[in-house]
C-alpha cells in the first residue's frame, strides 16, 4: 500500500501515455494514506517501493530513447504497465518530474555506495569512485566469488543465491532447531541433524538408533506417543468455526494441498539436555529407571513436522525390523523439526528466577495481597496463604506509612515503576525486616484499567531487634486499636480522612487510596457502554473472612465499588508513535497501547479475520495409551 514513483519520461512508454496518478485505496477508509506511507528520505508524497520493472526486450533497448534524456538513470526506471500478476499495482500523487528524477538518482547513488562498500578493492580507496568503475569492480568481484564457490556449483543445475545445503543450515540455525526422523511404532531415532549437538548437547552418534522416549521427559511420553501413533495418517479434519470459536464436525475430505505428504504434527515436549559432567552421563543410559532426576535438565522443544511413510522394500538396513506391525510393507515415521524455546533457561522447573533476597508480590488496587511468591516465606516467615487477602498496610511499620501511602497513591496514577524508600515490614515472628520495593501498576492494555500492582521486593537487612510485639498477627492488629505503645495513634497521612473520634485502621489506608482513584476515574470518564466488565475485587466478596478482626471496619464501603469500564470492546486504540524509550523488550515501563501507533484493528476486515483464523484441527480416535495421569499431584522432574 505504498505509492510508486511514476515517470512520464521517455519514448519507450509511448504506449502508456502520461503517468496515472491516483490515490492508493486502502481496505479501511479510516486509515489515511499518510499514515500508511513509509516516509522516504527525500520527502514529498513519495514512493518507497521500486519494483524491478519488467520490460520488453533486453537492457540494450535503451539506446533508442529520445535524445532529450541525457541522464542515463532516468531510463532505468521507466514504468510499464504490469502484466505480471505478482506485481502490486500502486499509484501515487503527481509530483514534479525533477523531484522524481532526483530521488531516482539518489537511490542509484546510494546503491552504488553500498556496492563499493562491499567490494574489497573499492574499500581502501580514499576518494569516491565513479559509478562505472564501481560497477566494473563489482563484476570482477563476482567473478572471483564464482571461482571459489565451484565446489558445490557443479552439483547445482539450478542456480540459486543459496545452495540448498546452506539453506538447510540456515533454517536450522535461525530456528535453533534440529531435524529428526523417528519411527512411529517404537520411536527409534532414524536420523537427526548435526545441529542437535548445539541444542541438546548430545552427539548424533549418541542419538541415532536410540529410542526417542529415552530422551523425553517421563511425563511427556504419553503425549509423544499419542503424536506418533495415529491409527490413520489422514484423520478426519475438525475445524474451529471462526464465528463461534467452537469445534465443528466437518466431513470434509482432508485437503491434499494442505497435508502435502502426510498428516501434520505439532506438539511441545521436554527433551533431555545433556550436561557435560560425567556423572549425569551415566544416568542417561538408565533413563527409564533413573530415580534422581533433579539434576537432569530438560528443555522445551516445539516439534512440528509431517508423518511420512515409505515402502520397506526401498529401505536400507535401518528399515529391517522397523516395519509397522499392522502394515508390513510400509515404514511410518515422523519427520519433524524441533525448535527450542529459549525464552527461559533450558530447564522448565519450579525455580523462580529472582535473587534469593528478592520476592514478588501482587496487590489489588487497595493494597491487599493477591499473589505472593514462595520466597516470601523464607524472608517473612508467612506462608503465602497467610498473607493473601490481607492488606499490606497491616505489615508496614507505622513510621513508614505516610511514605508508602504516598507511593501507593503515585503508582496508581503513573505508568512508571515507582521505587519506595527502605521500609520495615513486620515478619511473622514480630521482628521487622527492612525491604525496598519497586512497584508498578499493571494496566490492562485494552481497558486501560489497573489490574493489579506488581511489587518486586528486595531485602535490605534483617532486623531482629524489634521484637517488641508478639508474633500473632491478629494481636498486632488489635494492638493498633488498643495501642500497646501508649497514646500512639497512627500518624497523619495526607489525604486519608481521619474524622475525629475514629481510629484509623491500617488496611483502610489502602482502600481509601484505591477509592480515591476510582472516584477520580468515575468522575472523569464516561459511563461504561456495558461491554467493559465491572472491575470487581474478588476478595471484597468476603473481605473479612481472612482477617481475624472483623469489627469496626471503615472500609466496608469498598465492597460496592464497581469500576465503570472505560472502554467498550468496540473502541479502538489510538495514539502516538512508539517513543524511543519504549522498547518492547525493555523493562522500564509497561507496554501501553496508547504509546503505539493507532490503526491496528481498523484495518482488520471481517473476512480477513475469519479467514485468518480457521484453524485446522486433527483429532485422532486412538486412545492415549500411556496417558498422562493428571490426578497425580506430585511429579518430580
Amino acid at each position: 500500500m505504498s505509492a510508486r514513483n511514476v515517470s512520464a519520461a521517455g519514448g519507450d512508454t509511448a504506449a502508456e501515455g502520461p503517468a496515472d496518478v491516483l490515490v492508493e485505496e486502502n481496505q479501511s477508509s479510516s486509515v489515511s494514506l499518510a499514515s500508511l506511507m513509509t516516509p522516504s528520505s527525500s520527502g514529498g508524497m513519495s514512493l518507497n517501493m521500486e519494483m524491478p520493472r519488467k520490460r520488453k526486450g533486453s537492457i540494450e533497448n535503451q539506446d533508442s530513447k529520445s535524445a532529450s534524456i541525457l541522464d542515463a538513470d532516468m531510463e532505468d526506471d521507466q514504468i510499464r504497465s504490469d502484466e505480471e500478476d505478482q506485481h502490486v499495482k500502486i499509484k501515487c500523487f503527481r509530483e514534479p518530474h525533477s523531484q522524481i528524477e532526483k530521488r531516482r538518482r539518489d537511490k542509484m547513488n546510494n546503491l552504488i555506495d553500498k556496492l563499493s562498500a562491499m567490494i574489497p578493492t573499492c574499500n581502501p580507496m580514499s576518494r569516491k569512485l565513479d559509478k562505472l568503475t564501481v560497477l566494473r569492480m563489482a563484476v570482477q568481484h563476482l567473478k572471483s566469488l564464482k571461482g571459489s564457490a565451484s565446489s558445490f556449483s557443479e552439483a547445482n543445475y539450478k542456480p540459486s543465491f543459496l545452495p540448498d545445503e546452506e539453506l538447510k543450515h540456515l533454517v536450522l540455525k535461525a530456528a535453533d532447531g534440529f531435524l529428526f526422523v523417528v519411527g512411529c511404532d517404537r520411536g527409534k531415532i532414524v536420523f537427526v541433524s548435526e545441529s542437535v549437538t548445539k541444542i541438546l548437547n548430545y552427539s548424533r552418534a549418541e542419538l541415532i538408533g536410540q529410542s526417542l522416549f529415552d530422551y523425553v521427559h517421563p511425563k511427556d511420553m504419553g503425549k509423544v506417543k499419542e503424536q506418533l501413533s495415529a491409527s490413520e495418517l489422514y484423520p478426519r479434519e475438525r475445524l474451529i468455526d471462526a464465528k463461534t470459536g467452537l469445534q465443528v464436525q466437518a466431513d470434509l475430505p482432508v485437503g491434499a494441498a494442505r497435508l502435502c505428504s502426510g498428516a501434520r504434527r505439532s506438539f511441545f515436549c521436554r527433551m533431555k539436555y545433556n550436561k557435560v559432567s560425567v556423572k549425569v552421563e551415566e544416568k542417561e543410559f538408565h533413563a527409564g529407571t533413573s530415580k534422581k532426576k533433579e539434576s537432569q535438565k530438560y528443555c522445551t522443544v516445539h516439534c512440528t513436522g509431517y508423518m511420512r511413510s515409505w515402502p520397506t522394500s526401498q529401505l536400507g538396513a535401518e528399515g529391517e525390523g522397523e516395519a509397522d506391525k499392522q502394515d508390513s510393507s510400509h515404514f511410518s515415521c515422523l519427520v519433524a523439526v524441533g525448535r527450542v524455546h529459549s525464552h527461559l533457561s533450558p530447564q522448565v522447573n519450579g525455580e523462580v528466577r529472582v535473587k534469593p533476597t528478592e520476592f514478588i508480590t501482587r496487590y489489588a488496587m487497595d493494597g491487599k495481597f493477591t499473589f505472593v511468591d514462595q520466597r516470601a516465606t523464607t524472608i517473612l516467615g508467612y506462608l503465602p496463604q497467610e498473607l493473601l487477602g490481607t492488606s499490606c498496610y497491616e505489615y508496614f511499620h507505622q513510621d513508614d506509612l505516610p511514605h508508602l501511602a504516598d507511593r501507593h497513591r503515585k503508582v496508581l496514577r503513573s505508568k512508571e515503576k515507582i521505587e519506595t524508600n527502605c521500609y520495615k515490614f513486620k515478619t511473622k515472628y514480630g521482628s521487622f525486616v527492612t525491604l525496598q520495593s519497586q512497584w508498578f501498576s499493571f494496566v490492562n492494555p485494552w481497558t486501560k484499567e489497573v489490574e493489579y500492582i506488581v511489587s518486586t521486593n528486595t531485602v535490605i537487612s534483617y532486623d531482629h531487634s524489634r521484637a517488641s510485639r508478639s508474633g500473632n498477627k491478629s494481636e498486632q492488629l488489635s494492638n493498633f486499636k488498643t495501642s500497646e505503645d501508649p497514646k500512639k495513634s497512627l500518624p497523619i497521612i495526607p489525604g486519608i480522612s481521619t474524622s475525629p473520634g475514629t481510629m484509623i485502621y491500617a488496611p483502610s489506608i489502602g482502600t481509601q487510596i484505591a477509592n480515591e482513584l476510582l472516584d477520580f476515574n468515575r468522575m472523569n470518564s464516561s459511563p461504561s457502554s456495558g461491554n467493559g466488565s465491572p472491575f470487581s475485587f474478588p476478595q471484597e466478596k468476603s473481605p473479612l473472612t481472612l482477617n481475624p478482626i472483623s469489627n469496626n471496619v471503615p472500609n466496608g464501603d469498598a465492597t460496592d465499588i464497581e469500576m465503570p469500564g472505560k472502554s467498550s470492546s468496540e473502541e479502538e486504540p489510538q495514539g502516538a508513535a512508539f517513543s524511543a524509550g519504549d522498547v518492547l523488550m525493555g523493562e522500564n515501563s509497561q507496554l501501553d497501547l496508547d504509546s503505539v501507533v493507532g490503526p491496528g484493528l481498523n484495518s482488520l476486515s471481517n473476512d480477513e479475520a475469519a479467514m485468518a483464523v480457521i484453524m485446522s484441527l486433527l483429532e485422532t480416535d486412538t486412545n492415549l495409551g500411556e496417558a498422562v495421569d493428571f490426578e497425580e499431584m506430585h511429579w518430580s522432574l
Binding site: 513509509t38 563484476v139 539450478k158 543465491f161 511441545f268 490492562n444 491496528g600 479475520a609
Partner: protein, 365 residues
C-alpha cells in the same frame, strides 16, 4: 553560430549514447554473474541488478565468515548424510532432486520462509518460498528494505529488534517479534496485482550473526512464519478458549478442567492476568498488545496457576476474530471482536501444594 551549437549538441548526444551503452554493457556483465535463471535475469532493471549483486556479495561474505569461524566442512558432508536418509537410491540428478526436496521439506515443516536481514533493514536474502507468503518473488524482494513492506506502526518495533550491539552479534543473540507485512495474495493464495495488498502477520524468530571480513556484515537470520499457525492434533494437552478483548474468559473448552482444575464456568469473566504467575505479566502483556494491534500472537512460555495450588507452563497461540454475538441487525457496524486462544501445556503441575495467589486459597464458587 547555430550550426556550431547544433554540432556541439550532436557530439554531446553521441557521447552520452556511448556512455550509456558502455554502462549498459557493464550492467549486463554484472547481471550474467548473478545466480539466476536466464529468464529471470532478462527482466531486471538496473537498480535491481545492483540490489541483487549486493545481496549475493553479502550472502557470500556471511557464508565464508561462518565457514571460517565454525571450521565445519559443510560441503563435504552432503554424501555422508544422504546415506542415512531413508529414501530411494540417489545418484546424479536424482541426488540433486532429493536435495531440493529435502530443503523444501525443511521449509514446509517450518511453515514459513527464511530471511536474512541487515541491521539497517535490508532483506539480504529470502528463501524462494517467500512468494507463497508475500505473493512477490525472491527476485523482486531481495535487496529491498523491509520497511518498504512492513506496516508503518511496526517500524519502530522492527528497528529496535534489528539493533545489535557487537556483543549481541558475536554471541548470536535471539530475537522474537511479530510484524505485519504487505502480501499480494488473496486468501485463497492466488497472486494478485490488485491495488489492495493485504497485511500478513509474521512471527519472526532467529539469531544474530556477525561477520567481519571482507566487510562488516551483521545481520539477523530469521524464520518468518505466517500466523496463525496450523494447530494439529488437538490433544488432551491443549485447550481452546475465547476471551473478550480485555482477556477475560468468555468461553473455555472442557479440557481445561483436566489441565488446570477449573471448570469452564468458573473461568467466565476472569481475567487471564489473575490466573497467571506475576513474573509472566510482561509476557502476557506483550502478547495482549500484539493481539490488539496485529490480530495475531504467539505468547511464548508462561505459567498458569492451577486451581488449589501450583502452576503449569503453557504457551498460547491467539488470534482476534469477530465475536459470535455479532449483531445481525446492524450489518454495517463494526463487529465486536474477541480473542481465540489455543493453549498448549508444556509441563506438568509444578509445586502443587504451593498456593501463590488469592484464588488458590479461596473457593469462590
Amino acid at each position: 553560430m547555430t550550426a556550431d551549437k547544433e554540432k556541439r549538441r550532436a557530439i554531446s548526444r553521441e557521447a552520452a549514447r556511448r556512455r550509456r551503452r558502455v554502462e549498459s554493457d557493464v550492467f549486463a556483465d554484472l547481471c550474467r554473474l548473478l545466480p539466476l535463471q536466464a529468464s529471470v535475469r532478462a527482466h531486471l532493471d538496473k537498480p535491481s541488478i545492483i540490489r541483487l549483486s549486493l545481496s549475493h556479495m553479502r550472502l557470500q561474505a556471511l557464508l565464508r565468515g561462518a565457514a571460517g569461524r565454525n571450521a565445519e566442512v559443510k560441503y563435504g558432508r552432503v554424501a555422508q548424510r544422504r546415506e542415512e536418509w531413508p529414501k530411494e537410491e540417489r545418484e546424479g540428478e536424482r541426488r540433486e532432486h532429493a536435495a531440493v526436496e529435502e530443503t523444501n521439506l525443511y521449509l514446509k515443516i517450518l511453515e514459513g520462509f527464511v530471511m536474512v536481514i541487515s541491521t539497517e533493514g535490508d532483506m539480504i536474502f529470502l528463501s524462494e518460498n517467500v512468494s507463497k507468503y508475500m505473493g512477490l518473488t525472491q527476485t523482486e524482494l531481495m535487496g529491498h528494505s523491509v520497511f518498504e513492506f512492513a506496516h508503518p506502526c511496526d517500524h519502530e518495533e522492527i528497528r529496535s529488534n534489528l539493533r545489535l550491539t557487537a556483543e549481541e552479534a558475536w554471541h548470536g543473540a535471539r530475537r522474537d517479534f511479530v510484524m505485519r507485512i504487505k502480501s499480494a495474495l488473496t486468501h485463497r493464495g492466488r497472486g494478485t496485482n490488485l491495488k489492495s495488498a493485504m497485511w500478513k502477520v509474521l512471527h519472526c524468530q532467529g539469531r544474530a550473526r556477525a561477520c567481519v571480513a571482507p566487510a562488516s556484515v551483521s545481520c539477523l537470520l530469521l524464520t518468518c512464519q505466517a500466523l496463525p499457525l496450523s494447530h494439529t492434533l488437538l490433544s488432551a494437552h491443549t485447550f481452546t478458549s475465547q476471551h473478550s478483548m480485555d482477556m477475560r474468559f468468555t468461553h473455555c473448552d472442557h479440557r481445561v478442567t483436566l489441565l488446570l482444575g477449573y471448570s469452564p464456568e468458573e473461568l467466565l469473566g476472569r481475567s487471564i492476568y489473575d490466573l497467571c504467575h506475576t513474573l509472566d505479566t510482561n509476557t502476557l502483556n506483550k502478547n495482549h498488545v500484539n493481539l490488539c494491534l496485529k490480530s495475531q500472537s504467539v505468547s511464548g512460555q508462561y505459567r498458569m496457576l492451577v486451581r488449589g495450588g501450583g502452576y503449569i507452563w503453557v504457551e498460547s497461540h491467539s488470534a482476534v476474530i469477530p465475536s459470535a454475538r455479532s449483531s445481525k441487525s446492524r450489518p454495517g457496524a463494526a463487529q465486536p471482536l474477541c480473542i481465540l486462544c489455543v493453549t498448549y501445556v508444556l509441563s506438568g503441575v509444578e509445586q502443587p501444594t504451593l498456593q501463590l495467589s488469592l484464588d488458590q486459597t479461596t473457593h469462590r464458587y
